[in-house]
């Protein structure tokens, strides 16, 4: 699926012609990330993070496969094999630090990607499926990252495994047996470590599979853009290659500079010192915290301190409330496309939405991250409760209401107009001359009732 003016792949040599007939893989690549994929010409740097997320997935798979050649998933030796990697294996320290910090960078990039989507409402029709698959990828990433953190079998690994599987014990009736089943024992040990290793190796490939679906779904309507106005004509787009390959190449260089600075100069700054102490089932560290990328959700988990009780009867214990809220905080993203019904996508043209995004949601996420890493004492508990309340209010109450009452700012007629201030045939350039028929073509993604068309 693509626009009518998308360039067609034309094999030049006899060999590429032969390949194209037998297995049109070059054609697939050409249409996916090559000159055959027309992309809105006005994407800003926030649109770099999809490609960067894909890059870090590859970094994690490559370094992970290599580390698995030296690691042993056995509670007796796991900690020692990690030290073996750090001390004896050629470049082992570099590979392990790249893998450990690669996970953090994967999450940094993914969070920017998600919040880009939230600000520009990239989840709206016709792109709901891309968003849903993205949430699935995020959930898989969280599971993978959690299990990976258990593997070094340090103190935080052990107690993280204990606490996170303990979440499931909050469920009524099936909770306790479920936790024992997950761990294959009554506390984390060999059985848990081995299954976590197996799944930690498997899930990245599942993620890669869902990423392919995510990109496939993206190519049906085509990329969104900062104005939120759908592509109308050829002058609205440029071919992905070389325009966005070069831009992504530059973005990748910048992120790699940051990444290598962390890997080579501050490799443990995002980790926790306690994980350099071998797991000890008899002693809990003074202050258990998850990895930084889980902190907002950890804060939501801990925000519920009181049982839901009336007249002395407990209906839902606080522990279960916290677990439900934590899972709900991500699951709410699954219904997001149907909660926000504003016909305008981009936050730039939504004055009310924009205020709640910058002064509501973003500070809330920052407060939750800080509270998640802080000890469970005042004022952090009250702060995290206020922030948690706002988090749910934002998605479930505020978004539906403002999408009803907001008066959006006038949208540009087209992307071309947004970029160069005018959209008269003959004044455009780049993508080529405007094809008169292209302008009026019924584009993929424009809904039949026109509800998503810009206010003209």
């Amino acid at each position: 699926m693509s626009f009518a003016w998308a360039k067609q792949y034309e094999p030049q040599t006899a060999f590429t012609k032969w390949i194209d007939e037998k297995l049109p893989l070059p054609r697939l690549v050409y249409n996916a990330v090559g000159a055959g994929y027309p992309v809105p010409r006005n994407l800003n740097y926030m649109w770099n993070f999809g490609v960067l997320a894909g890059f870090f997935l590859v970094v994690q798979i490559v370094t992970g496969v290599v580390l698995a050649m030296h690691y042993a998933a056995n509670a007796q030796v796991a900690f020692g094999t990690v030290e073996h990697i750090m001390r004896n294996v050629n470049y082992g320290w570099m590979l392990r630090y790249a893998h450990a910090n690669g996970a953090s960078f994967f999450f940094i990039v993914i969070y920017l990607h998600i919040f880009r989507g939230l600000f520009y409402s990239s989840y709206k029709a016709p792109r709901e499926m891309i968003w849903l698959l993205g949430v699935v990828i995020f959930l898989l990433m969280m599971a993978t990252a959690f299990m990976g953190y258990v593997l070094p079998w340090g103190q935080m690994s052990f107690w993280g495994a204990q606490v996170i599987t303990g979440l499931f014990s909050a469920l009524p009736l099936i909770g306790e047996p479920l936790q024992v089943w997950l761990l294959g024992g009554f506390a984390p040990d060999n059985a848990a470590l081995n299954r976590f290793f197996s799944l930690h190796f498997l899930l990245p490939f599942v993620i890669a599979g869902v990423v392919i679906l995510h990109i496939w779904a993206l190519h049906i309507p085509g990329s969104s853009n900062p104005t939120g106005v759908e592509v109308k004509q050829e002058s609205d787009t440029v071919p992905f290659h070389p325009y966005y390959t070069s831009k992504d190449g530059f973005g990748l260089g910048v992120v790699l500079i940051l990444f290598t600075t962390i890997v080579f100069f501050l490799p443990n700054v995002l980790g926790h010192p306690d994980n350099y102490i071998e797991a000890n089932p008899l002693s809990t560290p003074a202050h258990i915290v998850p990895e930084w990328y889980f902190l907002p959700f950890y804060a939501i988990l801990r925000a519920f301190t009181g049982d839901l009780a009336l007249f002395g009867i407990t209906f839902v214990p606080a522990k279960l409330l916290g677990v439900i809220a934590m899972f709900a905080s991500i699951l709410v993203w699954f219904i997001l496309p149907w909660l926000d019904k504003s016909p305008v996508r981009s936050g730039h043209y939504r004055p009310l939405f924009r205020k709640f995004f910058w002064f509501g949601l973003i500070p809330t996420m920052i407060v939750l991250t800080i509270c998640g890493g802080a000890p469970a004492e005042e004022p952090y508990v009250i702060l995290s409760q206020v922030a948690t309340a706002y988090y749910f209010m934002h998605f479930l109450v505020i978004l539906p209401i403002i999408s009803q009452i907001e008066v959006p700012k006038p949208l540009p007629f087209s992307i071309t107009e947004a970029v160069i201030g005018s959209d008269k045939p003959g004044t455009t350039s780049g993508g080529g001359k405007v094809d008169p028929e292209g302008v009026v073509q019924d584009l993929p993604g424009s809904s039949p009732d026109g509800s998503l068309q810009p206010a003209e």
């Binding site: 479930l396 109450v397 539906p400």
Partner: protein
């Protein structure tokens, strides 16, 4: 519409539960309840800042001071090793401290490691070889606890990475022994429990480890450096930084090279990107 209505109802319900059952009781307790009690010991804790002048390996350009590492090794060998193991470090690694192969052989042989009699198969001891790892001072954790008033001396291989700001922490801990201010102690009813020792840089100020470095000159340095307690503490902290991360200096040096290359490559990528977009990015305003 139903989804939005349902969402609003669920959102208000979650908020109501959170506010009425968690936030309000918590706030009332915080505002009107008794203030949270702090352990008396926290009145005595002081955060240390590490040795004066820092370490030679600090910062992005820092490198090892090989002579200092050798002195630190001597302190470990003569003092710490009585109770603390160094199980992830092998004698062969000492070559990194500037010892020659022959010196490493001799150093290894000066340690006694567990062995097996090749004829009878019985456990025995033998002099160490470069491939051996530093021996454990106690046969197992139970023996270690029994010999140390129930506290197990931790392995030191990774100590400076297992504590926040670890190199400074080790230095501060070793120089933090002393007496609690008696006036303040009497006021808050603080007393160091028997069998523990007061250390103002230990998180709960009562540490099970007896002061290991007690007098100046406890170790006689071969290079003539005066072995004051701060000097020995600093040297052994440097040595333990090396045991925790032998690749530290190599890592930073590789880092400079990699980052330099990346800056060059990114600059080229930027020029290439600008060149490609030169015809596409009109001046907008």
């Amino acid at each position: 519409m139903t989804i939005r209505l349902g969402g609003i109802i669920v959102g208000l319900a979650i908020t109501a539960i959170l506010v009425l059952w968690s936030l309000v009781p918590g706030f009332i307790n915080f505002a009107f309840g008794p203030p949270a009690e702090k352990q008396a010991s926290y009145a005595f804790y002081e955060h240390g800042d590490g040795p004066e002048g820092g370490f030679t390996f600090d910062g992005a350009l820092g490198t090892w001071d090989v002579a200092q590492l050798q002195r630190g090794y001597q302190v470990y060998k003569e003092v710490c090793s009585a109770c603390h193991s160094l199980k992830f470090v092998a004698f062969r690694n000492l070559q990194q401290l500037g010892y020659t192969e022959a010196e490493v052989d001799a150093e290894a042989a000066s340690w006694t490691v567990p062995g097996i009699d090749p004829n009878t198969g019985e456990t025995t001891t033998r002099p160490g070889e470069p491939t051996d790892y530093f021996p454990m001072p106690f046969a197992n954790n139970i023996a270690a606890a029994a010999a140390n008033n129930n506290a197990i001396p931790p392995d030191l291989s990774l100590m400076t990475k297992a504590r926040g700001d670890g190199s400074n922490y080790v230095y501060d801990l070793l120089t933090g022994y002393g007496e609690a201010d008696p006036e303040l102690a009497a006021k808050v009813g603080f007393e160091t429990p028997p069998g523990l020792y007061f250390n103002k840089h230990f998180p709960n100020v009562n540490i099970a480890m007896a002061p290991p470095l007690v007098i100046d000159g406890q170790v006689s340095y071969a290079d003539g450096t005066e072995a004051t307690i701060p000097q020995m503490s600093k040297d052994v902290a440097a040595f333990l930084t090396w045991t925790a991360e032998p690749s530290l200096v190599q890592r930073k040096q590789t880092g400079w090279f990699v980052i330099g290359f990346l800056i060059f490559a990114t600059a080229l990528a930027f020029l290439s990107y600008k060149q490609i977009w030169a015809g596409m990015k009109p001046k907008k305003k």
